[in-house]
Amino acid sequence: MRNNYYAYWRQRAKAHWYRDGDRNTIFFHASATSRKKVNRILSLDDDAGNKVTSEQGLKDVAWNYFVNIFQQQASDFSSVINVIHPSISVNDNDILTTPFTKAEFRDAIFSMHPDKCSGPNGYSPGFYQHFWNLCGDDIFKECCGWLDTGQFPPDLNITNIALIPKGSSQVSMKDWRPIALCNVLYKIISKVLANRLKNVLLQCISDNQSAFVPGRSILDNAMVAIEVLHFMKAKTRGEDRYLALKLDISKAYDRMDWNYLMAVFT
C-alpha cells in the first residue's frame, strides 16, 4: 500500500525522483499540482479569432487544428530528389537489414527513462524493464514477426498528443506544443531502428549538418555562424556584398511530407 502510494506520486510528479535522491516530500506534491494547473486549457482562440471556453468547443478547436495541419498537400519535389545522390553502400544496407538480436531490443528498453510517460496502452518503460526477464522473449519474437511481415498490428501505433504550454501566455493552439505519447512497445521498435540508422548517418548526411549525428556537435555550426557574421562585419573593402539568412521553419516536424521522405530514402 505504502509502495503503491509512493509509485503513484513518483509518476505523477514527473520530477526525476530516485536520481535526485529525494523522498515523497512536499516538493513532489507541489510539482505534480502545479503541473496540473499550468497544463490545463481554459480558453482557445479559433481560426476566426473567436474566444472559445466550453469543453466541447475547446475539443473542436483542437481537433480542427490538427486535422488541418496534418493534411497532406500536393507538392512537387522532383527537383530536390534529382540532386540527392546515392550514399548508402551495399555494406551499409546489409548492416541495416541484418536479422535483429534480442540484445538490440534489450538495449532499446533499458536506455529509456523508467518513469517517462506511457502511451495510450498505459505501460511505462519501467514496466518493460522490470519484467524483461519474463516477457523479453515474447517481445523480441513478436516485434521481429511484425518487421518480417512488414505490418504492425493496427493498435500498436495509436498515439496520444499531450499539449504542453509554450511561451508565457497561451491564446491559441499555436501556443501549445504537441508532444506525441507513443506506446512504449512501438518506441522499442522505433529505437532499435533508430540505433541502426545512427550508424550510417555519417555517410549520408553532409558535413555542414551537425545536429543529431553521432560524433558531431550542434555547437560547431553555431561557431561557424559567429565566424561568418564576424567576417561580414569586419569586411570593409572590396566590391562584394554579403547576405546572411537565418531561417526558422515553423511546425517543421508536423509538415514533413511522407512521400518526400520515402523518395529521399529510395
Binding site: 481537433w63 504492425f152 522505433s190
Partner: protein
Amino acid sequence: MGFHHRWTHWMRMCVESVDYSVLVNGEQVGPIILGRGLRQGDPLSPYLFIICAEGLSSLIRDAETRGTLTGTKVCR
C-alpha cells in the same frame, strides 16, 4: 540515397501507421487521420528530419557545382 527497400518499408511502417488522439484537459479527442508529419517523441524522428533536410544541403551543393553559389573563407 540508396537505402534498401526493406529498410524504406520499415520507415514507412513507423511513420504512416500512426493514429492520433489529442488530449484536451485529460480527454481523448480523435481519431485524427494523418497525411504528413513526424512525431516529437518518436525516437526515429530526429534522424528522419535531418535526412529530409539533406535535400536542402544537396540543393546548395548542386548550386555550388553549377557556380550559382560560391563559398567564402572565414576565420583566416
